[in-house]
Symmetry: C2
Subunit: 467 residues, 2 copies
């Protein structure tokens, strides 16, 4: 006991952080554990009790996880959306996140949809477009409902070119739009002539050139390319510098085998080599393929999608079909570009959190210490973030390893039970959109999935069992 009173104290404080204040005053080292009772709610705790150590759940998760590991997303082509996406009828626009009505959409998403109407030549000006959209004449579908994903507003309209990603293991096909670059772009809600002209160039020049080039190369397995990028400082969500350069190497090699004119090749190389996020949409659709493979296993508590429409944050769970479990989209803790602050920020937006769902992005943050330069932490924090996520994942994915952690595998496949049990929420690396359409990106940072989504899912999953 004498030892205890004479030595410097190291205290772990669980729960209310004020309890630790007197101890901090006495110069002891205190670690505050951000813990609340599971779900903070009796119903959630009871549901969790029914799911923990339940063999049906364990077996379902094992099966679901194995399908995730087995998936082999492979880039096979680029075509206009209406030609390849089944649910893409004439006046349909796909958007990011869970389903949402025009009335509830945030301003960047509305701006992006207005831009898409003008790009498609359904309308000639903003006013008439807005009127048409208010009337309900345009059909909105979440990208996720059509085997697709899109960053930020995630707008895909019928004539936009889309990446086609096959998973030959599960005989399925996925899609994403092409990345427009940074600055004034549709996905942040910008819709002036510069944006529309770029979309036309992407439709008429970039898309066909990519399509032709891909015909000249072997189908490109995306997981090995993502794995290589993780060894080169990317986390393939907010940093895609290496992956984009590696992709360009392959694309240009193929493009030079086509009859594409040199002037067009030049435009293509300029566009891609000046957009370090070019690979993002491929990373996202590869992750979508992996997670859809894991989806639909009765009893499984693994999260198969996390997505935001700028108003709601929603998750889907493997054993819970097409339901979305939603909560208000959170704000983002990050660094803002000069002239902007938190009051300018739109709540969290986009399908890109499919990367974290699949065990990359913030879950592989340790691989990408440069990411913390954007969000105000240290390289050490990036390792801690990856380690923290291992408490809420089913297992790890040996296909994705992290040099900075002695090539240990990334934590993969969030288990809603573990999230509620530990009160550790999945972290997400993300860009911050201005809340007004068209201003664009105003910063980047880290956010956490809202606890309420996981509480609802735990209750719903417990209900699928008879007792």
């Amino acid at each position: 006991m004498t030892n205890l009173f004479n030595s410097k104290l190291s205290v772990i404080n669980v729960g209310v952080s004020d309890f630790a204040k007197p101890i901090i005053g006495s110069d002891a080292k205190v670690i505050n554990v951000d813990w609340t009772p599971p779900g903070n709610d009796e119903n959630v705790a009871r549901a969790l009790g029914q799911l923990v150590n339940r063999s049906e759940v364990e077996e379902a998760n094992h099966r679901s996880f194995q399908r995730y590991l087995d998936s082999q997303p492979t880039l096979v082509g680029v075509k206009p959306a209406f030609q390849v996406i089944e649910g893409m009828s004439e006046k349909t626009i796909m958007h990011s996140g869970p389903p949402i009505t025009w009335e509830k959409m945030c301003s960047p998403m509305r701006g992006a949809i207005i831009g898409a109407c003008i790009f498609e030549e359904w309308e000639t000006d903003h006013k008439s477009a807005e009127k048409t959209l208010e009337s309900g004449a345009i059909n909105f579908i979440p990208c996720h409902h059509n085997r697709a994903v899109g960053p930020m507003a995630g707008i895909i309209s019928p004539s936009m070119p889309v990446w086609i990603i096959d998973d030959p293991v599960h005989n399925s096909r996925y899609f994403s739009n092409l990345n427009e670059g940074l600055g004034k772009v549709l996905r942040f809600g910008a819709n002036d002539s510069e944006v529309i002209n770029r979309l036309h160039w992407m439709k008429e020049v970039l898309g066909p050139a990519l399509g032709k080039s891909l015909e000249k190369m072997e189908p490109l397995k995306l997981k090995p390319l993502m794995a290589q990028a993780l060894h080169m400082g990317d986390e393939v969500h907010n940093r895609n510098v290496a992956a984009s350069a590696l992709l360009l190497k392959r694309l240009i090699t193929a493009a030079l085998k086509t009859d594409i004119k040199v002037s067009v090749l030049s435009e293509l190389v300029n566009f891609i080599s000046n957009n370090d996020h070019f690979f993002l949409n491929l990373s996202m659709s590869a992750c979508k393929a992996m997670m859809d493979a894991a989806h639909g296993i009765p009893g499984s508590s693994l999260v198969t999608a996390m997505a935001r429409n700028g108003t709601d944050f929603g998750i889907r769970v493997s054993g819970l079909g097409d339901n979305w479990f939603k909560a208000p989209a959170p704000l983002i803790d990050g660094l803002f570009f000069p002239g902007f602050d938190a009051s300018d920020a739109n709540p969290d937006l986009g399908d890109s959190s499919i990367t974290e769902t699949a065990g990359v992005g913030a879950f592989a943050m340790a691989a990408s210490p440069a990411i913390v330069q954007f969000v105000g932490g240290s390289a050490y924090d990036s390792i801690e973030n990856t380690k923290l996520m291992s408490h809420i994942t089913h297992s790890q994915n040996d296909a994705f390893t992290i040099p900075q952690m002695n090539f240990s595998a990334t934590p993969a496949c969030i288990d809603v039970r573990k999230v509620i049990d530990t009160s550790i929420m999945p972290i997400i690396n993300t860009g911050i959109a201005h809340r007004k359409a068209g201003v664009g990106q105003i910063g980047a940072g880290i956010t956490k999935a809202p606890a309420d989504c996981f509480s609802q899912a735990v209750i719903a999953l417990a209900k699928t069992f008879s007792n």
Copy 2:
């Protein structure tokens, strides 16, 4: 005292490692410090005493280091060696490392020189080439003596295309040959028709295409590109994956502005995109430019070159003019490709240790945890290696930062005094050549510069002062 005997021991053992054996037997933690008295020689210790804390040396090192920091190596072109390298007279061959005669050359260097004679069409077959070389009719000059560097055998003959790197800050110009790729290549001593044909293609197709392309782009500052590559898992000596991809992006953008035929563009892109070491020779010549800027400051104890010809390892020191301080080239501690072992290995070879001299390569190993996969260590070791080197360098270079060490700067510019004082030898990441010409690379690993080079330099530098 009771505490000391009851607690687990942690012991630092200085010098003879056997002294620690009984302690290790008792389950204590022992760190062996690899220390011997400075220089292991009275003359060296006396010379070191004359140099330590000497204001003339400190001032000279400060000036030398500032010139190193100020240098701005910039890629400006590609031309045949004879057109741009002054010392390149008609029957001259440049090689790596300190000066050496034909008699003393290792087999890979001899093989490479025979190949160069055939490539230049001075000889038609190996036998006649060997006879000519034995006769002394060919002039050998170290690359370093002609402001150039070359990896492994480092052979540059008159009609080979060379990179031209300017340092506009110091109004000087540097050179390196183009990287041939892996496998059977001249720099490992291979000289059959496959090798000679590739050299002809590089002379007639690749070199001119690169030259034309570089005319269409702004002079390319190499330090920022190297710094970016350090953030992408390269250490720009034994790993150049990111740097090569970043370079290709710029080259192809420029190449598409020229009148180069698409079929040639295609060959160029294939060659570069399949050679992850393509950037190495640029990294080396950039480092040569930085170190030559630091060279020639009277009194300075900073190392401005470390180079090996496969027989000798030599260093040059800023305050000691054109002298080489030599010792036998060391063997390399590393991993061997299947079928080979240490008995097959040639001693250390090549000018590529100019990268370590300039504070990258093994000195920035922490930036490149993937490197340890080749040499059998852990990612942790790579950080320890970088930290260790900070004990023997003058300072650090803020132009090169390491994400894995919270973006701290790389240790830079070896001080011969510190090497002798600490007995910490500079470490070098390197490929391992088979000791027979033409077999090629048989592994990769880590070696240390021989202590004797630094002892000689300390004695020589002390002699430059009157007392």
